[in-house]
């Protein structure tokens, strides 16, 4: 019997060989990519990608369609071979290992459940391949974790989309992989089910403590679920950090626009003094904390998030340490319950978006009103002025 408890490690090529011995309650492992590049012909789908995913984190890979997210995951899973670079899991270089020899499991974008097997056998598939002694019992536990134990004997074709998605998740999870890869697993679900599954997925990740790499093109999903988010664009990582870091201090125009909304005003640096950068924006002087500015000379973009801006009547007195632009005319007011979104057209600067919480009930500024826009300098960020200010703007018609 003592023999039985060690069978999990017998298969040296299996996942147990690379990380923790027992296959249950594993805590995941670090995932490292160093200079990983994938070329399809002359097209670079993934371009010199370097990143580290710490063990036990919920890591989101966020980017628009076609930016190379799936390709990156496939290289980690071993289903695609990198053109150059290396991949490590728990410190072990796995670049040369085949897919079935890596301690990694994937929840596929299309689920890829085995149609000829029952739900239970689907979930037990990986356990059986590794000759885990109590495969069926563990598969049942896995189904319980995703709350589908009553569907064990069905075929995948007899499940709804959401149920299939959960079976795919259970099938990967029961193996307690060092790294679990999720390729837009919620993409096919409707909005309500999707929000529900986001909470569920987060709960499961906290419960099992594995390293999750979650691919999505939904910025809200990435921000609500992940500990760390890497924003990917055209095969490269634009920026990596916690959701709050990325939101409060975007370092590229793409991130500023793709993650939430930003007002970006083109200007030119006039002075750098006492940790502040003074920028001339269409005749108005705005200041940016030096450590929040990517560039401190020449052309820059001065950025501020819409909810940081206050609208002031055109004639109100101002404290002179605020950043103020205007006056401008309110061209659009859209009331959304908890908040109101204003569009303000400022001559010479363009249109700025402003979010105001409806603390006093209802919109406080009328359409057509003349207002000035003010915000605290510490919320301001500075970006490289040579990029197109609309880079990464999410097309609302598509989203």
């Amino acid at each position: 019997m003592a023999h039985g408890t060690t069978t999990g490690v017998q298969d040296a090529a299996g996942p147990a060989g690379a990380t923790d011995g027992p296959t249950s309650g594993g805590s995941g492992a670090d995932l490292g990519l160093v200079g990983v590049t994938k070329a399809f012909g002359s097209y670079l789908a993934v371009d010199d990608l370097t990143l580290t995913v710490p063990a036990g984190t919920f890591f989101a890979l966020l980017g628009p369609s076609g930016c190379g997210k799936t390709t990156t995951l496939r290289m980690v899973a071993g289903l695609e071979h990198p053109t150059s670079g290396s991949i490590t899991i728990g410190g072990t270089d796995v670049t040369a290992r085949r897919a079935h020899q890596r301690p990694v499991n994937t929840v596929f974008q299309s689920y890829a459940l085995f149609p000829h097997l029952t739900v239970l056998e689907n979930v037990a598939f990986g356990l059986r391949r590794r000759r885990v002694p109590d495969a069926v019992a563990r598969a049942r536990d896995g189904l319980a974790l995703v709350e589908l134990p009553h569907l064990a004997d069905r075929r995948p074709a007899q499940l709804s989309g959401g149920q299939q998605q959960r079976v795919a998740l259970a099938r990967a999870l029961v193996n307690s992989p060092a790294v679990l890869l999720l390729d837009e697993p919620l993409g096919a679900l409707d909005l309500k089910l999707r929000r529900q599954m986001q909470v569920e997925l987060k709960r499961i990740q906290t419960e099992v403590g594995l390293t999750f790499v979650h691919v999505t093109h939904d910025q809200e999903e990435a921000m609500t679920m992940a500990d760390q988010v890497a924003v990917m664009n055209a095969g490269r990582i634009e920026q990596l950090g916690t959701p709050a870091e990325l939101y409060e201090l975007p370092r590229t125009v793409f991130v500023a626009n793709f993650l939430g909304q930003s007002n970006l005003l083109p200007g030119r640096v006039r002075e750098v003094r006492d940790g502040w950068v003074g920028v001339d924006v269409g005749g108005t002087r705005l200041v940016v904390p030096q450590d929040r500015a990517v560039s401190t000379h020449g052309d820059v973009l001065v950025g501020v998030r819409p909810e940081k801006i206050h609208l002031l009547p055109a004639d109100e007195e101002l404290s002179d340490d605020a950043n103020v632009v205007g006056p401008g005319r309110v061209t659009d007011v859209s009331f959304a319950g908890v908040s109101t979104q204003y569009q303000v057209e400022v001559p010479g600067l363009g249109t700025l978006g402003v979010f105001a919480q409806n603390l006093a009930g209802g919109a406080q500024v009328a359409l057509g009103a003349q207002v000035r826009l003010a915000w605290a300098p510490r919320f301001t960020f500075g970006l490289d002025g040579s990029t197109d200010a609309s880079d990464g703007v999410v097309d609302l018609d598509r989203a």
Binding site: H100, F114, H116, F125, R129, R154
Partner: protein, 273 residues
Amino acid sequence: MSAARRRRGWSLGDAVVPVFAGLAFLYLLVPVAYTVAFSFNDAGRSNLVWQGFTLDAWRNPCGAPQVCEAFVNSLTVGLLATAGATVLGTMVAVALVRYRFRGRSAANLLIFLPMSTPEVVLGAALLAQFLSLRVQPGFGTVVIAHVMFSVSFVVVTVKARVASLDPRLEEAAADLYASSWLAFWKVTFPLLVPGIAAAALLAFSLSFDDFIITNFNSGAFTTFPKFVYVSAARGIPPQANVIGSIMFALALVLVVAVQVAAAARRRRAARAV
């Protein structure tokens, strides 16, 4: 209202369709019925005219000289050729769909060649080849020839099935620790089974049925179709009709069984939801 009632009443289409369907069935079934009927003929020397009813041929189907020997020969050749062609054809089909290699498109095209070449040409060419290699025509050459001409049909049948398989399934298997060998046996093969079974049946019926190519390449070896052809000159013994009838009945039972099983599976699936 009146238009609907008129449609439900008598119309030309309602009468013509059953009549033509009936005629077509008659046309198809008369030769079969004739074969079955004459297996009960109390034939003396010739089984060409009705002489009276008897169960003699059915009681002793091997009564006529050589008829059962030829039948067993055909069965043996059929089973061997089916096994060979199915294994080979399945491997070719999987390779053609799943792997990129030099000459793949040429292979895709060439596989159709034996299907479109006239059988006499194939048969004569094979014989020429066997003779030039100094291989004595007989059992072995017949099996080789049958594998050769039925493998194309297997490839085409199985290939359609492989192409309809989601390649992600094999990737999922690999992701779940299955080596490519295990991924094939645990995922690809079970999903291909219906296609492979259909291909095997097709290969068997092609082999069992073949006369032209067999006639060129069999030497003194006699298969059932060859036996029937040779004895046609003297009159086919009613035992041949018995064997023909049995084969027909077996095929019929098989088709019905497959249909019933499929319907049962559908009903079970519907009930499970």
